[in-house]
Symmetry: C2
Subunit: 766 residues, 2 copies
């Protein structure tokens, strides 16, 4: 077991690493050449066009102003300075609320840590159980609950503290839920007019032999929402087209690369090979090759575009239906339309850039089957993920490599290389798996059929949390793979499970302290350095960039990554709550993590990240729910731990805690969750009335006309079909009484005034 000394060494090492990262960051960010890596947000918002304070030629690349190096840590106060309303305005509500998660961590754990150190550390310390025992123990263990003799009356302190901590956590959670809910409602009701406030996504439009989807949608809503219906946009199956556009973009990058190469060295035209990855095949002129390839692709794109707009089969049985007022949209989104609850499904349209277009046309039965498949697959992934990895590990041994690649044998047989490989190989397949885990989970969510990116990320976050809970938290405490745990749990009584885990908890405190320092401290400090985007930006800048626009594209601001970030934070909540009563010494480490992460991410959100979508903090119920889960887990484990300490009289008192916590959760769910899933009619009506009074002549139809067009159509050739959009302008209020085919109508693709700058750039065609 680690002693205090070991912890000190580890802490020193990690603090040094973190500090090195921070210093490197402080230095690099001051160089004008890195300005687009560390401040891309400002460029994207159009608030900055060139590095600040650029003077002479050298000054464009290296910062020569030595005074700025003196103030190299001033990004920290700067990050904290921007007030929250400005932050919401600058980076969106999602980001601002995401930062509040760290704040909640601080709000919960700072008072708990103070109380813990004031009350429990002395109570634990002034015992001699461990000294008189023959057990190995560390100084940290002397501060923990292990140091209290069995059956001691001192356990009452822990019991009272468990109550105090629970009440404090619930109080903070309730306050925070209240604040976030009102922030969300305020944000939704804020002055900005957004297309998703007026629009409802309709899925599973039933097939009809006589009418096209367009006609069906129009008729249905004109009949059932006669006073409110405004217009609709059908959804085209443009997945193939968007693949082609992506391909074209990639080819254009290569063309740019060779053109740049040629312009720098005009003596020889750059050559390339036509084969696999340019490694083999005939040598041809690269510029000509890519120009012709792009031309071919452009034609393919044009014909695919034609096909989509003219072929009724490429219209998916889904549509975005817009209403004259928010009230009408709120009504339609929150009610059932048809007798059959599996057709004409309506829900709030996600924000245009939040839509996940591929999933819009999955029928209901298929959805439920997919859900079953994913649930089973995730169960097996979580419980049995170690089995294939162990199998790969057993294959990837030195003998296997020597057999497969015999020419490597002389090198491998070297003693130092051999031991390196032997130490390295078994871990590598696990490491690779863990790196790919978030994207595996993301693919699962995509397969499950969620229709917005935010929902995909939320679901992936839930799964990632469960995976971490079982394989990191439980896996570290009762060392063993998940399927072994499962087997053990199945054969243990309900009483014994919390006991088994509870008993091992105090002993794992030092392990988790090290984990927090490596994963939390150094990891967060590494985040601010942005090493990977830094390298990629400079490579792109050197090889591809010709114009300012190219440079803009070379920036990779990234985004928050809710699906990986939030479960990580939740692990710290879990550790903090579990150890608050057992080993309060762990708390300061968690507090440092929360504080540092808050500052770093606040800086990143202000200066770097460019959020892809805006879900108006729709994730908060998940965050709240998982903290509640952590709280209940901590209570159960404490119950298990205390029952082995023969403090049996206190156990019945502890049973009340989870009951009260669950009740608190249900109360919060009823009280605050509706703000995240429903839109009150009063709000809608207020906003509508205000808008009508201010802008009586607003052309809402024009505003909404093209808001929900598949991004590949968004920046298409303007020449294509101005007439078409006018046609559908007039057409949408007429209900043809005869069932006639209008499938010849060309698709309207007039550029919309509301086209958002937040669109994923990868799918924008230039």
């Amino acid at each position: 077991m680690a002693t205090l000394k070991d912890i000190e060494v580890a802490a020193a090492m990690n603090i040094l690493t973190a500090f090195a990262f921070l210093v490197a960051f402080a230095f690099l960010r001051l160089q004008p050449i890195n300005d687009r890596v560390y401040f891309p947000k400002w460029y994207l918002k159009g608030l900055r066009n060139s590095p600040l304070g650029a003077g002479a030629f050298v000054g464009k690349f290296v910062n020569l102003d030595f005074r700025s190096y003196v103030r190299f840590l001033n990004w920290m106060p700067a990050a904290l300075q921007m007030p929250e309303p400005e932050l919401i305005n600058h980076a969106g509500l999602d980001s601002a609320v995401y930062l509040r998660i760290y704040l909640v961590g601080l709000k919960i754990f700072v008072p708990i840590a103070f109380l813990g150190f004031a009350v429990m550390v002395p109570v634990n310390w002034t015992n001699g159980t461990l000294e008189h025992s023959t057990l190995e123990y560390s100084d940290i263990d002397k501060l923990s609950i292990s140091n209290i003799p069995i059956g001691s009356n001192r356990f009452w302190t822990h019991l009272v503290m468990a109550y105090a901590f629970t009440f404090w956590t619930c109080y903070v959670l309730k306050k925070e839920y209240e604040i976030v809910a009102s922030m969300r409602l305020h944000f939704l009701a804020s002055e900005q007019r957004r297309p998703d406030q007026f629009t409802v996504l309709v899925r599973n439009v039933p097939p009809d032999p006589d009418e096209s989807v367009n006609e069906l949608v129009e008729h249905f809503f004109l009949v059932n929402h006669p006073e409110h219906y405004l217009t609709y946009q059908v959804v085209y199956n443009a997945n193939k087209l968007s693949d082609l556009v992506k391909e074209k973009k990639k080819l254009r990058n290569w063309l740019d690369f060779y053109q740049l190469k040629y312009s720098r060295n005009q003596s020889t035209r750059p050559l390339t090979k036509t084969g696999f990855l340019g490694l083999c095949g005939e040598r041809v002129d690269a510029i000509d090759l890519y120009t012709s390839k792009i031309e071919g692709l452009s034609e393919a794109i044009a014909s695919e575009r034609d096909k989509i707009t003219n072929n009724p089969k490429s219209i998916m049985p889904a549509a975005f239906v817009s209403f004259k007022a928010r009230w009408g949209a709120a009504v339609c989104a929150q009610t059932q339309q048809s007798r059959n609850p599996t057709i004409w499904l309506t829900e709030w349209a996600p924000e245009p850039c939040d839509v996940y277009w591929d999933n819009l046309a999955i029928p209901y039965v298929s959805l439920t089957i997919r859900r079953l498949i994913v649930a089973v697959a995730f169960f097996f992934l979580t419980i049995f993920f170690m089995i294939p990895i162990t199998f790969v590990q057993s294959l990837a041994n030195i003998e296997g490599i020597e057999k497969a690649l015999p020419f490597l044998r002389p090198i491998i047989e070297l003693k130092s290389v051999k031991s390196l490989i032997q130490g390295f190989l078994p871990g590598i397949s696990l490491k690779i798996f863990l790196i790919f885990l978030p994207s595996i989970l993301m693919h699962m969510s995509k397969f499950e059929g969620f229709i917005s990116i935010s929902a995909l990320e939320r679901r992936s976050a839930t799964r990632y949390y469960i995976f971490q809970f079982i394989n990191v938290f439980l896996g570290s405490i009762i060392t063993g793979a998940a399927f072994q745990q499962l087997h053990e749990f199945m054969n243990q009584s309900a009483n014994d499970i919390p006991k088994t885990i509870g008993v091992s908890i105090p002993m794992k405190a030092t392990f988790f302290i090290t984990y927090i320092m490596v994963d939390g401290w150094a990891g967060v400090a590494g985040e601010i350095l942005r090493l990977k985007p830094l390298v990629i930006f400079h490579l792109k800048n050197f090889f591809l960039v010709k114009t300012e626009k190219d440079r803009e594209e070379a920036m990779d601001p990234g985004s928050l990554g809710f699906n990986t970030g939030e479960p990580q934070i939740q692990l710290y909540f879990l550790l903090g709550l579990v150890y608050a009563v057992v080993t309060p010494v762990l708390l300061p480490f968690i507090i440092v993590f929360f504080g540092l992460a808050y500052m770093v991410y606040r800086h990143q959100i202000i200066n770097v990240y460019n959020q892809e979508y805006e879900s108006a903090a729709a994730f908060w119920p998940d965050v709240h729910g998982r903290i509640i889960v952590a709280l209940i887990v901590s209570q159960l484990l404490l119950m298990g731990l205390l029952s082995t300490k023969e403090a049996a009289r206190s156990t019945p008192l502890l049973i009340a805690l989870p009951v009260l916590t669950i009740w608190f959760h249900r109360f919060c769910k009823g009280r605050y969750e509706p703000a995240f899933v429903r839109y009150p009619l009063q709000e809608a009506m207020m906003k509508d009335t205000l808008e009508r009074a201010r802008e009586p002549n607003l052309n809402l139809k024009g505003f909404l006309q093209n808001a929900y067009i598949h991004p590949v159509f968004k920046k298409g050739d303007d020449s294509e079909s101005d007439a078409a959009s006018e046609d559908s302008d007039q057409g949408s209020n007429l209900v043809p009484t005869k069932r006639q085919s209008r499938r010849g109508t060309p698709f309207p693709s007039k550029r919309s005034g509301s086209s958002s700058s937040l669109l994923p750039e990868a799918v924008q065609e230039h």
Copy 2:
């Protein structure tokens, strides 16, 4: 253990009892004097005024037509003759769908029984395990799974059968859910106009210092549903008034009794004592006494009525808000109104006679706390109910009685009496508890704050089912009180619990067969005899009845009693599904129960029961869910049983069953449940359009004006306030811009044209 012989004897005895009940019924129902006991439904519907075929004076009391005795069993085909649509029209959808539960039982178990007898009985019978063992066994056990040797390959039959039974059950359930859902939608969309189709119940109207509840409600809905809002009715706190009215009714009964006595014997005026129960105190003239008492009470009622209508404090913060069309009501009922989800709560108004008036004004926070209290109370009731009963039993022993009532000693000390008391006493407190259990559960539901009688009954049914599952089903299998079970389960592993129960299941088959015959067969046959209503009717008829109206009131048609009846049926589903694979011999007994009960209840519904309310089969999701629970329990127990039989290879295959069943449940929930909780807008619009076309001049306001008035006001003096209702007629579309008090407005109590004849008579004042 019981042998086949024992079962035969028990069966014969119970068949005889049931047969005796049926014969008694067949005889009694033919007597004209009992006509109102056995055919009250026809009287209440106004389709019959006097017994059929009444001739001479004697013929009014006794049926002298001997031919009718020959056909004494012809009620059975008669009960089955009425086609379902007519039944719905005659007795309501609730009753018709309730009967379908029995049909579902037949549909599930008849094919399962055939398959079971064809396949599994031979498979089980042709083994010799029990013959060669030293265990005591009966012939029934030879037909069960116990007769198969450990580790035999024959268990594959049981596995395949478990799959077949599960699929068949799910198929029947899905079909049935589909039918019931479409019946419900058809019923809701049927031609009849009902006030609840246009009305929404608003609760938790927030207090406002400047405006009364009336004004608040009117303003809110005029602002937020301007195009749809029609009118509203506030809810008065009339609980005290309705108590007074009940009291008056009781006194009037006594007065009638004495007047009748006096009219029969004019020589002496009847006397009574003024003290407790008329047993002690001064002797006075009974008629004068009750006349004066009733006069006093009438005054109190009048003043209380005045107080309610004039005092704004008696207006509860709740209201029934009506809309111009079903569409508007559907929208309002299914959306959130205010930013704060705990105020302005809207939901579909229950049918007027389904409203539980006492609970309309409970605030949100109080509701959540009540729910917690009831949940905890129910947990303790279920788990620890044996403790107080055991305590009472220990007090109520013979020595205790002798001490308390020493004069009884000589009688008690008689040997025969003593043994009788000793055998009788311990059971009596348990019996009393079980008789009162449904009303205890009903009070719990009332305390929890449900606002409709149907919801109260549904919740009570759920609780009663849980209680029966734990204390009857599990309690019989692993003999022991619930808290002992709980203790055992907590100390057993998750694997062992199904094993423990699974192993005991085959051994309890004979017990449950007896249970089915006593509780099911004889119980159902007793139901049709209606012994208690028969006696009470004749007593009332003799002592109280003066006029035809009195005689009408003396009838007690009763109603289905969903809260006790449905959980009983569910117990049979559970038994049938659990034993289908284990001991298929049990199935015929269950089939007989379902068949007999179907016939009896169909007869009762047609001729006797008068359903208090109509919830349009809102209970079906509960019924479906509980059958699913039974299915999953049966699968888990089979898994436990097979794993002890060392048929381990089959266990993993069994795990798929509950997973698929749960998935099936979720699928059904998504596919059919919305029909029971939501009202599709398309339906509403269709109905509205149709109605507008047919009756363009319909005065909907007049129709809705007084539909939701507290029943005590319903049949008040007509003279009271005709002007008032006109006043509110005009007022409801004006929004006073100044905040002025209109509290003086008298309450409108004009008799509504829609006043339903289904009103609980106890609260109707005459």
